[in-house]
Every structure is written in structure tokens, then in C-alpha cells.
Amino acid sequence: VRRLLRDPLLQFLAIGAVLLGLHAAFGGKESDAPAKIVVSAAQITNLEQTFARTWQRPPTSDELEGLIEDFVRDEVYYREGKALELDRDDIVIRRRIRQKMEFFAEDMAVAEPTDGELGAYLATHPEQFRSEGSVSFRHVFLSSKRGEALEADAGEIAAALAAANGRDAAALGDGFLLGGEFSAMRRSDVVNDFGGNFADNLFTAKAGSWQGPIVSPFGLHFVFVSERTESGIPPLEAVRAAVEREWANARRVEKLDEFYRTLRGRYEVVVEAPPTAPRPEEVRGAVR
């Protein structure tokens, strides 16, 4: 649809539609002189080209005459139909006109952002671009399959880790399908693999020594966090493409709204009370 917009003819039509619309909105008056229909040379060329695209040859002079007469017929009916306000209640025309107006406004919004604009957007919408925190850690895992012994075993492991300063940790505890050591793991991946509660605890655990145990759906984990990157707002260079994407989207929405509000401001809108209808059944309950 965007591409359609770049079509120069459509742009021309859109601008024309806007001008017509504005003209009407300002209450322009029809002249009393007999209305004139001018079929310009450019218009005739256009008719010829359209014909040639379909038929793969130029029109004969008879055919061209017919095309021009048909164009005039279009124009006459268009003007008279409009004068009779036949377009007013036609949903197809209304939608098409609205769409043209919106295209027009969206086109006005297309622009290449400057670094300053992108920087400002990043500064005012930091949360949209926040990078995820990550963590490098290893763990000693005690499977919940140990059952009642789990707590006592955890005590022994804690003592062993303390005594040996964790040097032989790799030999302690149970094997774990996802592995024993994780490097620069993003928070969302920790949540996926171990659950949210575990992630909360892991990201607040003291780094550089054995901590825990932390509970997960799998059992207990003593963890040694070796490195942690806090979540943060990256510099513009790191997220330029994303900021451009969001900036363009925000600008489009904003311009469209601005355009509409300006036009809307020209009207006093009176909404009459609708006839009372039974309310549809309310949707209950939270749907995530």
C-alpha cells in the first residue's frame, strides 16, 4: 500500500482530493457562469497511454474521440452527481476518500530522521530499547527426585562448597539436561528454562561466590555467578535501526492524528442520543 502511494498519479489524485475537500470545507461558492470542462492535452496523452497499455497499440482517431467523449461523460456525471450529493451516503466513496486523506497525511509524515531526532526519541522512550540483562553462571544441581533427602543433601553440599571454596563443585550434585555452565545467558532465556522465580533470584544473587540454593521447578540449585550484565539503555549506534523503525511509526501515527485533529477542529460535532439497545454480554475475566 505504501508503494501504491509513491505512484505519482495517485499522489496527484490525493492532493487533488485534499484540495477539493478543503475547498468544500471552506464553503467555496460555485460560479454562476456556465461550467466549463477542459480536456487538456496532458489528459489526452494520459488517455492514449492507458489505452495503449491494455491494447498494446495506440488508439485510432475514432477510438480516441470515443475515449475523450467518455472522459467528458465521466466528468459531467461526476460533477452533477456530486452536486446532488450522491457521494454522501455511498460507503465505498466515503471509505476511499478517507483512505486518500489518510494516505496524504501519511505521505506528509515520511521523512529521514536526523541523528538529533533519533537521539531525542531514544532519550524520551528509553524503555522501548532497553537491552536485556544477561548472566554467566554455573550451578550445582540437586534434583527434586532426591525426595525427602533433598534438604539434608543440600546441607551437605552447602558445607562442601564452603569448605573447598567451591573448587570441586563440578563433581557435586546431579547432572542436568540443559548443562552445568551457562555463558552470557539473557534473562528471558533463564525465565524460559528455569522459570521466573529462579531468574529473579539469580539476577540478584551475589557474584563471585557460591550462593543459594535457589528453587526451580527441577529442584535446588547452588549458583556461582561469574559475570552479570545489567539491563540498560544502549547508545544510539547500537540500536539505530530499531529507533528508526519506532520513530517512523510514532511520527506516522502522530502526523495522522494531528492532521485529523486540525480538520476535526473545523466542525462542531453534535451526537444525538442513540436509541437504547440491549447491551451485549460483558466479557468477564482477565484475558492475558
Partner: protein, 634 residues
Amino acid sequence: MGNTPATALGAMILFVIAAPAGVYGQNHTPDKATIVKSLGQTEFSPYAGRDYPTRVFWGDTHLHTAVSVDAGTMCRLGQEDAFRFARGEEVSTTYGLRAKLSRPLDFLVISDHAEMYGLMPQLLAGDPEILSTDAGQRWYAALTSGNTDAVFGTAMEIVASLSGDEPPIKSSKAVANAWHAYTALADRYNEPGRFTALIGFEWTAIGGYNLHRNVIFRGDANLANQTVPFSQFDSKNPEDLWRHLAAFEERTGGEVLAIPHNGNLSNGRMFTVETFDGNPLTKEIAELRARYEPLVEVVQIKGFGEAHPALSPNDEFAGYEIWDRSNLNGTELKKLEMLRWEYAREALKTGLMLEQKLGVNPFKFGMVGGTDAHTALTAVEEDNFFGKHSGVEPEPNRWKHVVIEAPDPKLTVFGWQQAAAGYAAVWASENTREALFDAMKRKETYATTGSRMTVRFFGGWEFSDQDTKSRLPAGVGYAKGVLMGGDLRSAPAGKAPTFLVAAAKDPYSGNLDRIQIVKGWLDANGEPHEQVFDVVWSGERKPDADGKLPSVGNTVDVRTATWSNTIGTPELIGVWRDPSFDPTQRAFYYARVIEIPTPRWTAYEALRFGVTMPAEVPMTTQERAYTSPIWYTP
């Protein structure tokens, strides 16, 4: 006597410690083979050689947005909303509900229908070129009438028109425009390492008989723009689709693959032993299929396509979310003899037979799940299910609304019959288009019904129970075996295949009940067989006299839509050796992981909206995963 052993042991330790000094004293450097032998592993560093995938990536290979002509009749969410939702952002649905996934997905293929690609948004915008067609005008009037029945009727008409010979609305320029807009959008949302937007489309041929395929590109917009979506108006014959893909690869140097789906609704047409024209399958066509269709979507909202109870009467878990009354649009009743050409397990067996005959196995595929949602929302969590299309998005009565209307009311499909499923799990070295695509090609994938459990499956000749005690089972698996989707050939004398299989639960879903291995094989007469083996399970259960493992039980409280993980287990690992292996017979093996019962989406729905559904509506489910097979070829 009491002290003697300890003293002897002490002396031994001293001796052992002293010995290396002697060795080094002679300035002798042992070669690698000696070290490796004494270590019992190939490297000293447990991390060396670990270039195998350590993370599984989750995604959906099958999603429609308003750009699809059928979805576009009811869904107002476009491709950008679909990407945003899949990567974890909140969006507003067509009816204004706020929607968000519990956890982001890692990748997404937006597979809008190739047929009249992108025309629906233009139709709804009143595009004059489209409104100048008869169909365009009629549809436009109906869709903008505000009459729900008229909208639904038109939606069904548009779906039906997808199977016609001529597109009711034809505009190659508009299709190209929409396709280029999509590929550019996918490039913008593709963030290597964080979220992968694979480019794709759906070829929707023989609508009622569902021979549909999702085509996926390995490359970016530059590559994908060298073609436009191949549609059923180009050809209804899947063989032509494969030839088109082959020509595309030849011409561009790019790579593509296709994923067939919903064999269960093909009424006997998806996995047959004939060509499209009804002649016996040839080697050339079998090769094309094997090359371009490495995967099959075995589960999605429109039901399950792996196994059917009538085909697998001894498999108590075969009857999962079955849709088997008719073809897709309910115009032809299902007959029993059609089933064997529809379900993946049967197709894998048929593939062995065809390989014996043609020398090529056209059905050598791995497994993925997809949603096929037409809502732009890949939302199939049981407590967060947004339905098949926007006519059945959450609201109190959607369970009894029509999903697919059939001429015979008995064949009409209702809301409650939708399965909240599934997702594709891909073991890839990193989250990029290239790595994910390559993993799909080598079939290192598994299907789940929506739950995100971790599953490993390796086959080899030397796995033993000791391997289940390994601290890093995946390392042992990659070192000693082939991965899911791989091949075992020419059994060493006296050996039977062994399999290392392990699973860890989805932290947000139920515990695990059991892991099974499904074996299919050809006997000496070329007849296919199958058997399901329980490999490892939770608790102290013992198989009964018939070898059946007792049920894990059920903790679901339907009234409150809750369950407890007091049964089952968070992890399972086991090694299984084929007890009935014959080295002269072709076979395949794949793993199935079953969760304990949890509430089905209908139970959450009944609770939320305070509605009562009839007894025929299932309220519990057992989520499961299916790995790609490992094949044995003599």
C-alpha cells in the same frame, strides 16, 4: 586385618601419584591417544569440541495475518502486529482485547496465503482496481455491511474461491507490491541473536483437500524478491511447486524448503504412493519431495496429524485432538481407508516401502508443530488461546461458534474442537535465519502441542545406562550418536540400535509422565509394522502383565482450572535398546514425551466466562512432544 585394606589403598594412592613424576622424569610426552584412553573421553577439557547446539529455539512456522485473503475478512491485525506479538510485545486484537504471550518466541514465519497475496487490505480500503471486478464489488459490499452472518458467509466464500481455477481478483502488480512490503518488514524485524523473522508464504492448493505447504526462505528480502509467492493459480500440483522451488534455487543460488500441513484433512491425499495425476510414484518425484520437504507440521489448531487410533489401536495416546469426520471444508465424508495416507506415522512407514521399491524415501521427514492461526496472534497457550480465526477470538460463546461451516451441519466444526497447538522447537547453533533454516533442513527439530519442554534424542550403537548418569547428556549424545533427523546404517555385527533420550519440563507447564519411543519397520515380506515402547517414566509404576504402564493419574481441578505437580517428574532421561532389532529390516524410531494432565483451554474458558459446556467438550489435556525420527537403513 581391619587396617590392611586402608593401608593397601593408601599405598596405592601414593604409588599412583608418584608414577607420573617418573614418567615426566624421562621427559616423555604421551601422545593424545594415550591421554584420551586413560581419560575415557576424547578431550580433557569438557568444553572443547562443544560446537553443537546448546539451546532450543521456539517458534511458529505457520501464521496468517490480514494480508491473507481469508483471514483478512475478519482479522484487522497485519504483519507488523504479528511480529510484535511473537517477539513478546503487547498488541490489541481485532476486537480490542489486549494480548501478550507469557514468554516471547524466538522466531516466526508469517505464511500468508500466496493466492491473491495482500489483496484483502486493498479490497477493504476500497481500491478501485479491485472494486472494478465483480467479486471485488460483491465481497466489499458484504464485508462492510456490518452484518456478522454476511461477513462469515463471505469469508467462507473467499476460502472456497481459493480452490478455483482462476483468481476471482487478479492483479500481479498488487501482489508484487504486497510481497515486497512484507519482505522489507521481515528484514526490519529480523534481529539476529534475538528474534528471527524467516520469510515465507503458504501455497494453498486443493483447498478442500488441504494439500497446503508453507514455503520458507533461508535468505533475506533481496533473495525473496526474486520471485513472488507461487500460488495454486500457478499450479495445483505440488510437484510443480517443488519444480518451481528447484528452478528458484538454480536461478538465485538461494535455498528454500516446504512444510506440508494438516494431512488429517486431506481425505487420503497427503502421503500417497501415486503422483498427483494418479500414476505410480517415480524416483524423480520422490527425490524432489525428499529434497524440498524435510519437515511435516504434525499438529496445529485444526487437529493432530501424527497418529490415529484406528491406525494405531495399541497406542493409548494416539487419540489426541482428532479431526477425522471429513475433509477440510466438510464436503466429503472421511472413510476409514483414507486414514493411512494422511497421518505422519503411516507416511513414515509408507516411506520405508517406497524406499525399498524406488531407492528413495519421499517421506523422510522430521516433525514440527505450527498454529495456522488466522488472527496474526501465534497464541496457543492453553490459558492464552486466541483461536483459529478472528471469528472465534475469546468471548463467552466462542466454544459453540462455528469454526468451519460444512454443507452437512453434522460436519460443521465448532469452537471447542479447536486444539490450542502447536509450536516448533529447533536445535540450532544460534538464533539466525541461516542457523534455524539449516537445522530445519537437517531435521534437528521436534513438535510440541504448545508446551515448551526441552527434548534430546540421539541414536547410536554404544549408548548404555551409564550415559544417563552423565553430567552433560547432550555431550555424550553428540559424541556417540546421531541426532534427531539422522541416519543409522549397516548395523555392526551383533549390535542393536541404542537411543539416549532426555526431557526437561516446561517450567510453566505440567510435570512429565513418560518418554516413549515409537518404532516403525518393514518385515521380511515388506509389510509395515509399528510398536510403542515406554522408555522411562515418573514414580514407582510397574508395567502390568500386558506390558502396559499404569496411568500417571490426574490432579486437574476443572472447576478452578488448576493442577498440581505432585505427580510426574520435572526431568526424565533413559537409554533404550531395540529388543526386536533385525539388521536386515528398514526401521525408524522417534521419541514422544508426554506431560501429566493439565487443564485444556476450554477449562480456562469455562472458568473465566462462567459458562457451562456439555460433557462432550474435553476439559483436560496431556501436552506432548514428538521428535524427528532416526532412520535405520540396512
